[in-house]
Amino acid sequence: MDFTIKTMAEYAAEGKSPEVLFWVGCAGSFDDRAKKITKAFCKILNKIGVDFAVLGQEESCTGDPAKRAGNEFVFQMMALTNIEVLNAYEVKKIVTACPHCFNTIKNEYPSLGGNFEVIHHTQFLKQLMNEGRLKIEGGAFKGKKITFHDPCYLGRANGEYEAPRMLLEKLDAELVEMKRCKTNGLCCGAGGAQMFKEPEKGNKDINVERTEEALSFEPKIIATGCPFCNTMLTDGVKHFNKNNEVEVKDIVELLAEAEDL
């Protein structure tokens, strides 16, 4: 990165607090593909001058995969630790690029004592755009066919369908909707801790089914808003040997590209 990423601890040492905490998440921190999404988002925030911090080493898994696998103990251990850290820094507003982190902190932390305003990165960027802080000059994607895959934990789980689409429309691209979109969206196959295990026996893998649907529109880009969907669809595109023709990109990556960041 050509600028420094500041941590909450550093802000606290200076006696300041940032506008927003960027919750990076495990995928965003460790997964090579997802790290690119993390960086793209940071570049955008940096460019518009949003004062943000990360937790860095003080961040832990939100507990989402453990919870959905059925391990409430591990989930709550993570949750209560995270809540303690967040409350110690008096964090008010959190933004994250992972719908699973977003969902867990937003919906499952409050009854454990963690009350924060949590938003998904697409929602945050939409806010910034409405405030006039983020301006997207279209052009880079003009006329390119993009289809958006709704992440279950952003869409169906939390009812957010509009923010990602609004950002994509700003790119001046040709947005095509799959038949199974929005409330009827089809899972990428990674949710509910499936990301971490082999799928059960069946006719095909869920990500293959989903990618097949996306590819039927012959898009240039399959846009996602979740690091897990990104992995699953990237694998799907590889399955069909289309990785030279079709890209799987997170929305923030597209925005960063449009801004030439």
């Binding site: 420094t4 990423i5 941590t7 990076v24 495990c26 965003g28 921190s29 460790f30 790290k35 960086k39 990360v54 080493q57 961040e59 832990s60 898994c61 507990g63 995969p65 453990a66 919870k67 959905r68 696998a69 059925g70 391990n71 409430e72 103990f73 591990v74 709550q76 251990m77 993570m78 949750a79 209560l80 630790t81 937003k106 919906n107 499952e108 454990l112 279950c152 169906r156 789980a157 939390n158 009812g159 409330t183 009827n184 969206g185 089809l186 899972c187 196959g189 949710g191 509910g192 971490f196 295990k197 082999e198 799928p199 059960e200 026996k201 069946g202 006719n203 869920i206 293959v208 089914e209």
Partner: protein, 442 residues
């Protein structure tokens, strides 16, 4: 002996409703075998949801063809039940078309025309449903999991409804001819549909017409009583239980899974540096029965989940959108509810026989629902989104996973690895927490 009819009628009526009441009380008892759950909050929202979803059928029309046909049958059913009031009063007091005297000529004509139109819509609905289900090949209605009773049950319902409507039209047509040709009084009611459909009744003699009218009338009445009592054995229970199921539905966002309070208590104790691990439990805690984590059998599920199982009408909208099912895994959300209901029914029969539940060596887990099904779920909530009456098969899957993991440590090996990583490294992969910010240095 002139009151014989009325007496037989009354006996049948009391027996029919009595039997039905008994069935309902059994269902109520079985549902109460589940854990209690507090769903009495947000009452205005609950009434609104029930009105919109159960009464207003708002989610049925998501699939327009099935939605509209269902609306025919549903509205027809509701309105035609007003006819039942007339039948009951006529039956008990020996009157004929009692409502005509109350409604007056014009309004009774409007009433009977409405019934006739709705009845013909019901006929159209059930005939098309029958064709769709048996010959048209809608995938969710022809899946293997419906073979046997579920398929026959669905067809019986359609056949019974068809027969009831035929009786209704025969009764009206015969009555119409009878009144028109032989009675001194003006004809009460107007019967455009039965007039067309059964115009051939015109050549019959008075006794024949009378016989047809009475036979159809009794058939209609006994048919309704029979149908009512058939509900207990049938997926058709949804016509009643859709209402409480939507009222008690989960109103939270789909993504919000419940947190177990018992676990919170333990973790807080674990994390509290001042807690004394050897301290005697506080007074109140001793009485508390040691609770099981998650669900192994129907007793561990909550009462709304059991109510859901009885409310499922096996339409399969959930299964048809389930990503696991679509890609050939054995998970079917519909089957999760059906199996829960089957097990609950079995437990109910056990209680009927023994006075209380005697261990039968079976459990919902493994004997009915397999681990393979449970682990195939992506928790994507497509099933809950698709259900026309807000049932929640996912919550059952989730509670059973909790049992597998927390009581039996029976998760797939890869998930055990993931959970160990989360516990030890604070990430599902085996990376060091200290490296969490390494991306910023690249």
């Amino acid at each position: 002996m002139q009151y014989l009819d009325n007496i037989i009628f009354l006996i049948l009526l009391v027996a029919g409703f009595g039997l039905f009441g008994k069935s309902l009380s059994k269902i109520y008892r079985n549902i109460r075998l589940g854990r209690e759950i507090n769903r009495s909050d947000r009452k205005p929202e609950r009434w609104e949801t029930m009105t919109r979803v159960a009464l207003g059928q708002s989610r049925m029309v998501k699939r327009p063809i099935a939605g509209i046909l269902h609306l025919f049958v549903y509205v027809g059913f509701v309105i035609i039940n007003i006819e039942l009031i007339e039948i009951v009063v006529d039956g008990i007091f020996g009157t004929h078309r009692f409502l005509a005297t109350i409604f007056g000529h014009t309004f009774y004509n409007i009433f009977t025309v409405t019934l006739e139109v709705l009845a013909i819509l019901v006929v159209i609905g059930v005939v098309l449903f029958f064709i769709r289900r048996n010959f048209y090949g809608v995938k969710r209605l022809t899946m293997k999991e419906l073979f046997g009773w579920p398929k026959n049950d669905a067809n019986w319902i359609l056949i019974i409804e068809f027969a009831l409507m035929v009786a209704f039209f025969s009764m009206n047509a015969a009555d119409h001819q009878l009144q028109g040709a032989y009675a001194a009084h003006p004809i009460p009611g107007s019967f455009p549909i039965s007039g067309i459909l059964l115009g051939w009744f015109s050549g019959f003699s008075e006794p024949t017409l009378h016989l047809i009218e009475r036979t159809a009338w009794w058939f209609h009445f006994i048919g309704i009583l029979f149908f009512m009592n058939y509900l207990y054995y049938s997926k058709h229970l949804h016509i009643i239980l859709a209402f409480p199921s939507t009222w008690y539905a989960n109103l939270d966002l789909y993504g919000k899974f419940n947190n177990l309070d018992s676990v919170t208590k333990e973790i807080k104790l674990m994390m509290d540096p001042n807690a004394d691990p050897y301290a005697a439990p506080a007074e109140g805690d001793i009485a508390e029965a040691p609770s099981k984590f998650g669900a192994e059998d129907v007793f561990d599920l909550n009462q709304v989940q059991l109510l859901n199982a009885y409310s499922c009408t096996e339409c399969g909208r959930c299964t048809s959108v389930c990503p696991a099912n679509i890609t050939g895994k054995i998970l079917s959300p519909r089957l999760i509810l059906m199996k829960t209901r089957d097990r609950l029914e079995e437990v109910g029969r056990n209680i009927d026989k023994n006075g209380k539940f005697e261990d039968d060596g079976k459990k919902l887990l493994n004997d009915y629902i397999t681990k393979e099904e449970l682990w195939a779920c992506t928790t994507c909530n497509a099933c809950t989104e698709a259900c026309p009456v807000l049932l929640d098969p996912l919550s059952i899957i989730f509670d059973m996973r909790r049992f597998l993991v927390m009581e039996q440590s029976a998760a797939p090996q890869e998930l055990n690895l993931m959970m160990t990583n989360v516990e030890n490294n604070a990430a599902p992969w085996q990376y060091n927490q200290a490296d969490r910010l390494n991306w910023a240095k690249d």
